[in-house]
């Protein structure tokens, strides 16, 4: 027994104990941190290969599992996008591709990238790895449920991938799955394909709920001593708020998936009105297609922020660390994250301005949508104000952050076009929308993911990724991606509708053939450039330079573990005690240009640190 479990060492550092280590000359009360409220977590240590690496309960391993599975789906999504771009840019080379194939690729690309790649990567991957480390916990609070969460996600991915191999292929209904066409013939994959998609989504929601409960309770109830809410890194704030959104938004997806499954399998008519198909009136009648759209976007819009908020949080930390400057306006940043999260539940119908819903909704949703631009703009200002008067290391991580700012501001501003109801009318359902959301929730979060990979790789693997390769990776990706999506807005201005397999001889598209070829070539290059990272990781793991502890000189707790990479239980004998926020960089009077969160005030008594 004693080998398997930590003996509940209920260690309680009293204030006197802390004082022993401090310089005696100053006011002893300044280092006081309340004693532990909660006893040590009861951890189950794995003792077989399977328990350690497969059905593992350690959040860090689960995080890596999530990460790798999500990256696998991401690569599938990337290959699908290549095929789509081949058809759009060089249809003569894509003779093997029918319209059915094209629509299936479009659909699977969208669903994979939004749900199975970005959501799983940010919350499952970064969330699992970073939350316990950053808040100073030994592990997630329910390790077993956490493990189930990953395996549920794994099964969801397996079901999704299986839909490529069923008769009729995967669904080609567009990632929004709008009924009635989703489950009617005339849409590819309206048989088994859509069924597997709906099952997979339901499994994803169930799996995510298990994980989400863990993230929330770990952040709310298992922080270490001294870790107040306002001392949490913004990464944790971002992931936390995104998780709250997910817990409240995914139910709508689950419900719409269940109802659509019943429409498909049992011929109920939740979303199905009377339909005339090939001269025959179908069995359906009386349902409302718009109801589905409301349910879907009640999930779908918070989903955008489920992807964006962790990215906001992570990028704030990266910028702060590498600019050697405190994040500007931390409290504003926190409230902006929370505010954006809250508002995101009241803007969903801006996806439906031309859906035929009651037109009076337009006024309300346009207003709420543009209100959300204010906290978002504040975040942008604070990022660039963090750079201002900083001491900026222009390394790979910072480059990704700068790339994020450019693409995010660009995509955010086109969002003001689309959110402003009557401006949306000519632009909706055109390539402008495609360009907008790829820029703002495709490329921008991807920039953050890449920055985060370069930033935390030394922690996860204990080795430094190669800088030169990293810079090549960045420049090709950033310049390539920007030249894909910036010109694409102009296709939307022309009026080219989205989801067109080909354009015939419409003047709209023929004028833009050259642009489409250019975009496709850029897409091939950007996609291929991602394998530089794969190569870099493999090379680094084999021959890379060993990372020292805390190579970036950061303050947050994940860099102060007992070993690198951290072992099960994260912090060795004793949990760290936190005395400050994680952004005390370049404090006047301090010896180094950073003060770790664990440094007691008395140790840096003669610095001009502000109380946080």
């Amino acid at each position: 027994m004693s080998e398997e479990y930590d003996n509940n060492k209920s260690y309680q550092a009293q204030s006197s104990e802390v004082l022993d280590g401090s310089a005696g000359s100053i006011n002893p009360d300044m280092d006081y941190v309340r004693p532990a409220e909660i006893p040590e977590q009861d951890l189950y240590h794995a003792h077989s290969f399977i328990e350690k690496w497969i059905f593992c309960q350690d959040a860090k391993v689960i995080g890596v599992q999530y990460f790798l599975t999500a990256v696998f789906t991401g690569i599938v999504g990337l290959i699908l996008s290549w095929l789509m771009r081949l058809q759009l840019g060089f249809p003569e080379l894509a003779g093997f591709m029918t319209a059915e194939h094209y629509y299936q690729f479009v659909t699977m690309h969208g669903m994979i990238m939004v749900v199975y790649f970005l959501t799983a990567l940010f919350l499952g991957g970064f969330g699992n790895y970073l939350i316990p480390l950053m808040v100073g916990a030994r592990d997630m609070v329910f390790p077993y449920v956490n493990m189930l969460s990953f395996w549920m996600f794994f099964v969801a991915v397996a079901v999704l991938m299986a839909s490529f191999f069923v008769p009729g292929g995967p669904t080609g209904a567009g990632w929004t799955l709008y009924p009635p066409q989703t489950i009617l013939e005339g849409t590819p994959g309206s048989g088994m394909g859509i069924l597997l998609m709906l099952i997979s989504l339901s499994l994803f929601v169930i799996g995510f709920t298990m994980g989400g409960l863990n993230y929330m309770i770990t952040i709310l109830q298992a922080r270490t001593r001294g870790m107040t809410l306002m001392r949490m890194p913004l990464t944790v704030w971002g992931i936390f708020t995104a998780t709250v959104l997910a817990m409240l938004a995914f139910p709508a997806l689950l419900v719409s998936a269940i109802m659509m499954t019943l429409d498909k399998v049992l011929q109920t008519s939740f979303f199905m009105p009377t339909i005339l198909k090939a001269g025959e009136v179908l069995e359906y009648g009386g349902g409302s297609p718009i109801l589905f759209q409301h349910l879907f976007w009640f999930f779908g819009h918070p989903e955008v922020y489920i992807v964006a908020l962790p990215a906001f949080g992570i990028v704030s930390d990266l910028i702060s660390v590498h600019a050697r400057k405190n994040i500007f306006g931390y409290r504003m940043m926190v409230w902006a994250i929370v505010g954006i999260g809250g508002l995101s539940f009241f803007v969903w119908a801006h996806h439906m301005y031309v859906s035929g819903m009651n037109p009076w909704f337009g006024f309300f949703f346009a207003t709420t949508t543009l209100i959300i631009a204010v906290p978002t703009a504040m975040k942008v200002y604070n990022w660039i104000l963090t750079l201002w008067r900083g001491n900026i290391r222009i390394n790979t991580v910072m480059l990704w952050c700068l790339g994020f700012i450019v693409t995010f501001v660009n995509g955010g501003i086109t969002g003001i076009f689309l959110g402003n109801v009557s401006v949306d009318v000519p632009l909706s359902d055109t390539y402008f929308v495609i360009a907008h959301f790829h820029m703002v929730m495709g490329i921008a979060p991807l920039m953050v993911i890449m920055g985060a990979v370069y930033h935390w790789f030394p922690l996860v693997a204990g080795k430094m990724l190669h800088e030169g390769l990293g810079k090549w990776h960045f420049w090709i990706t950033f310049l390539g991606a920007y030249s894909i999506y910036f010109p694409m807005h102009y296709l939307g201005f022309i009026g080219v509708p989205r989801r067109y397999f080909e354009m015939y001889d419409s003047p709209y598209m023929t004028s833009a053939v050259g642009m489409n070829e250019f975009i496709s070539i850029a897409a091939f290059i950007v996609g291929a450039a991602q394998f530089i990272l794969v190569f870099n990781i493999i090379k680094t793991l084999k021959t890379g330079k060993k990372a020292e502890q805390n190579p970036w000189k950061a303050n947050s707790l994940e860099w102060y573990t007992s070993t690198v990479p951290p072992e099960h239980g994260n912090f060795g004998e004793r949990l760290p005690v936190v005395h400050r926020w994680p952004y005390d960089f370049s404090v006047p009077g301090a010896k180094d240009d950073f003060i770790p969160q664990t440094t007691a005030p008395s140790e840096v008594a003669n610095t001009e640190v502000e109380k946080t």
């Binding site: 309340r34 709920t209 109830q221 107040t228 817990m247 269940i258 009386g286 936190v578």
Partner: protein, 236 residues
């Protein structure tokens, strides 16, 4: 994580005090067991699931062209040839609410470490839940026998059957999950796992009587949802 200690922590008065307590270190909800907090948040999420179902139902019912079946006739039971509306459903509701009562008592005796009483009361709750599910099965088969199907029915709008089977089915699924856990917990209580702190078979975590309260939260929630379903389906 078995017992809670909040040494030296006193909740501060007023709104400011609340804000500073909430934002303080370690925990946001002082002295709340992790599992309990988890259940509350899960139930919040589940509330959204049921809300989406019920709002869809209201929208669906509000926008059908065909008349909605007369619920007091469709759901009535014939007792000696006389149709009694709401009879079955009244009994079902009574059983479920009663089981909530026994559940609450089980939690109380659990915390008092009264193993016997706690075990019997959980068993009673489980039996109550099982009765409810059984009566629901009876009601479903009665309706199916009368020709109500998810895709249509002889009484009116097709959506009646769709929503009825979907929502009561989803609720019944919740009750059934609860019943399974109630039986497992009955065993665990009688076997004394919570007294001996025996580790769980799957989770390898130590058992504690707080788990009964957590299950109780779930059970009361399922009850509460039933009240809404009752109101929206049978009284509207």
């Amino acid at each position: 994580m078995s017992e809670q200690k909040i040494d030296g922590f006193e909740l501060k008065p007023g709104f400011k005090g609340m804000a500073s307590d909430t934002g303080s270190d370690q925990t946001m909800f002082k002295g709340v067991h992790w599992g309990k907090a988890m259940m509350w948040i899960f139930l919040l999420s589940d509330t959204f699931v049921f809300s989406c179902f019920l709002i869809s139902y209201m929208k669906g019912r509000g926008s059908t062209i065909v008349d909605w079946p007369n619920t007091s006739e469709v759901f009535s039971l014939h007792v000696g040839g006389v149709p009694v509306p709401l009879l079955l459903i009244a009994i079902m509701t009574f059983v479920l609410i009663t089981s909530s009562g026994t559940m609450a008592l089980a939690v109380k005796y659990g915390y008092e470490k009264n193993r016997k009483m706690c075990g019997w009361l959980i068993l009673a709750t489980a039996v109550g839940g099982l009765t409810f599910v059984g009566m629901q099965v009876f009601e479903w088969s009665k309706l199916i026998h009368e020709g109500v199907r998810p895709w249509g029915n002889p009484f009116g709008a097709a959506q009646f059957g769709s929503f009825f089977f979907m929502i009561t089915g989803f609720h019944g699924f919740h009750v059934s999950i609860g019943v399974i856990f109630l039986f497992i917990y009955t065993y665990k209580v009688f076997a004394g796992h919570y007294d001996s702190k025996k580790r769980g078979w799957f989770t390898k975590m130590k058992g504690d009587y707080v788990e009964i309260e957590i299950l109780g939260l779930y059970w009361h929630f399922v009850d509460l949802v039933w009240v809404f379903i009752f109101a929206f389906f049978y009284l509207w």
